[in-house]
């Protein structure tokens, strides 16, 4: 072996370690700041924490948050809601993690939080069963857990906060029934059929239009995806001469169908009404403002409520074990003032 190659190799190796150390270092200095403010000082070590007989005021909390993925705008919104709510409470330090749509990663994150001995965990699980045990382990370790949006198996958690898709479907159905005057041809663009929300948004809708003359002329599974809705709608437009309304299980589906109608080039988008669900500021609400959607129904993220509940739990105040969130309707008339609660 020649010495030169050795030298290069070792330099590269050292650079690798140095690089990693540097990165970790940058992160470290940033982290130490938040860590020291976030961690509860051990009693007696610092004067500020132990002055005064009431322990509640001045206490700092580390709240850890595991989001199942940040690929969906709705989940990005959930994190934004949590951050916004946490910002109003300086005693809270947030420790956020993105599980990248992998249950294994999310399991590991919960176990890391337990190791770090955080004060409270907020989790929006990717899947019920795989997360049930790690959440149970956190409870066993004395760490309260708030489960958001998707429930876990059994009742070994501290609080659950979630939207009610059936109610949202029902409200959408009632609105559509009223808008169409009890009769007409409706296209239903369904969410992924293997998911519970898609079933709930369908069942609720059917209940809302029960007894009317409304006919479902097509109901393809668009898997929540705009391109799929666009493709399906194109086929439906070519076979259905009369369509009065399109009900999308989410706003991107409704938007995809609208675009397909525009692309057809017959101007039918002026006669057909489009209704969606989710009402994210950047999607549904904007589409309503732009006159694309007639209405959208909010599927709340529960982010704000999660922080409120967390503070109640941490300050030993009474709280609801299960919170079912309501919905809001956004139409052209009320969109400027932030929709109307239903």
């Amino acid at each position: 072996m020649n010495g030169h190659a050795q030298w290069v190799k070792w330099t590269a190796g050292l650079m690798l370690v140095a690089g990693a150390a540097l990165l970790a270092g940058c992160q470290g200095s940033k982290d130490q700041g938040s860590q020291s403010t976030g961690t509860t000082p051990p009693p007696g070590k610092t004067g500020t924490a132990t002055t005064g007989s009431t322990p509640a005021p001045g206490r700092k909390f580390v709240i850890a948050m595991s989001q199942c993925n940040l690929g969906e705008p709705w989940r990005v919104q959930m994190n934004a809601d949590i951050e916004a709510a946490a910002k109003e409470h300086p005693e809270i330090t947030l420790d956020k993690a993105d599980a990248q749509n992998k249950s294994e990663t999310q399991q590991a994150q919960v176990r890391d939080f337990i190791q770090k001995k955080v004060d409270l965990i907020i989790i929006s699980p990717k899947e019920s069963r795989p997360l049930t045990r790690p959440v149970g382990e956190a409870i066993d370790a004395g760490i309260p857990v708030i489960v958001l949006d998707r429930a876990i198996e059994g009742d070994k958690y501290t609080a659950f906060i979630g939207g009610d898709n059936r109610k949202i479907g029902l409200e959408a159905g009632k609105f559509i029934n009223k808008t169409l005057g009890g009769r007409g041809n409706v296209v239903e663009l369904r969410g992924l059929m293997t998911t519970v929300p898609a079933h709930d948004r369908h069942d609720g809708f059917m209940e809302g239009i029960k007894g009317s003359q409304i006919k479902i002329v097509a109901d393809p599974d668009c898997q929540w995806l705009e391109p799929n809705a666009n493709r399906e709608m194109k086929s439906i437009l070519s076979t259905q001469p009369q369509i009065d309304l399109v009900y999308g299980h989410n706003d991107p589906s409704a938007h995809g169908a609208y675009m397909a109608t525009v692309q057809e080039g017959k101007g039918r988008e002026k006669q057909i009404k489009f209704v969606g669900i989710d009402a994210l500021p950047t999607e549904g609400v904007k589409y309503v403002k732009d006159g694309i959607l007639t209405a959208t129904f909010q599927y709340p993220t529960g982010g704000k409520e999660a922080i409120e509940t967390a503070l109640k739990i941490l300050n030993k105040q009474p709280f609801e074990k299960k919170t079912s969130l309501g919905t809001r309707i956004f139409t052209k008339e009320n969109v400027a003032k932030g929709g109307e609660p239903l």
């Binding site: 690798l16 970790a24 069963r129 795989p130 049930t132």
Partner: protein
Amino acid sequence: MPETPETTPPGSAAPDGTRRRSVWELLDSYRGLIALFLVFLLGCIVTPRLRDTGLPIFLSPRTQLDLLFEYCEYGLLATGMTLVILTGGIDLSVGSVLGLCATLFALLTVGYGWAPIGAVLAVVGVGFLAGSINGILVARFGMQPFVATLAMMTAARGAAKYISGGIKVQPAAMPWYKLQQDTPHFFRWMTTALPGLGIQPASLLFLAAIILMAIVVRRTVYGRKLYAIGGNEEASRLSGVGVAWAKGLTYALCAGFAGLAGVVNACRQDIGDPEAGAGFELDAIAAVVIGGTSLAGGRGGMGFTFIGVLIIAYISKILSLKGVDIAQRMMIQGAIIAIAVLIQKRKRNGA
């Protein structure tokens, strides 16, 4: 005559005598271990401290056992992958085979009420069979390993979705499932730390597998054949080494380990997910390569792979404990793989 296998600590292997062993060279032989140690040190320095004892979280035995447990599926895949890579091949199908086997294992136990042990044997058998098909395509029909296993990757994923009916297999998912309440106790046993030892049976399974394969690779005729094929396939063929059989067996073993990893996956997830293991093949290959086994074949070994798995697990755990943003994390991991291979390339040129 087959090439002398380059396995871990060459201090024990007989050098050819004429070489001058410099300090550099000695250090170089333990490069993997040194890198592992440095990463370990880094972990101790940068991870947050435990509130009660003040020690770094990274140093706690719980964290160490946790990360071994988190990476035991990748470890099992990497064990099989090492065999294939030693022959100069590659197996892209292990992630899909893992998914197929996880789904099948859940279906047999939860759906049909089989005893877990019987289901494990059946599932590993199915993995072995899938691997045999890879082996036959590669060894008998001379197909490129990349292409043959790419085909299996697609087919096995399809099979996983087919047998499950497109749903995730779990109690009460179908009315006809034998188990409607809970998964068998075996699921929890595999993934719960044994009392007293503190280590999960799933982790032990990985350790047992890699130790066994380390012995097979170093001490058996089959093991020597792997290095011979990877070193120079044509020469091995001419010198009468049973190339076809050895290669076929290698792919079958690799997929067999993927089957075991599938069992671990089903137990850990508590469901049989037909989408499980997607992309795992890349992590397994990364672990093998970071350890120091050459993708060109003929150099490396199980010891290297074990170090590679630990290095990846350590880095990922450190980044996770530090709460490093996922985007940065992926960039760091990519850089580490590239640098590891770069160092290897220098080694080949320098040797």
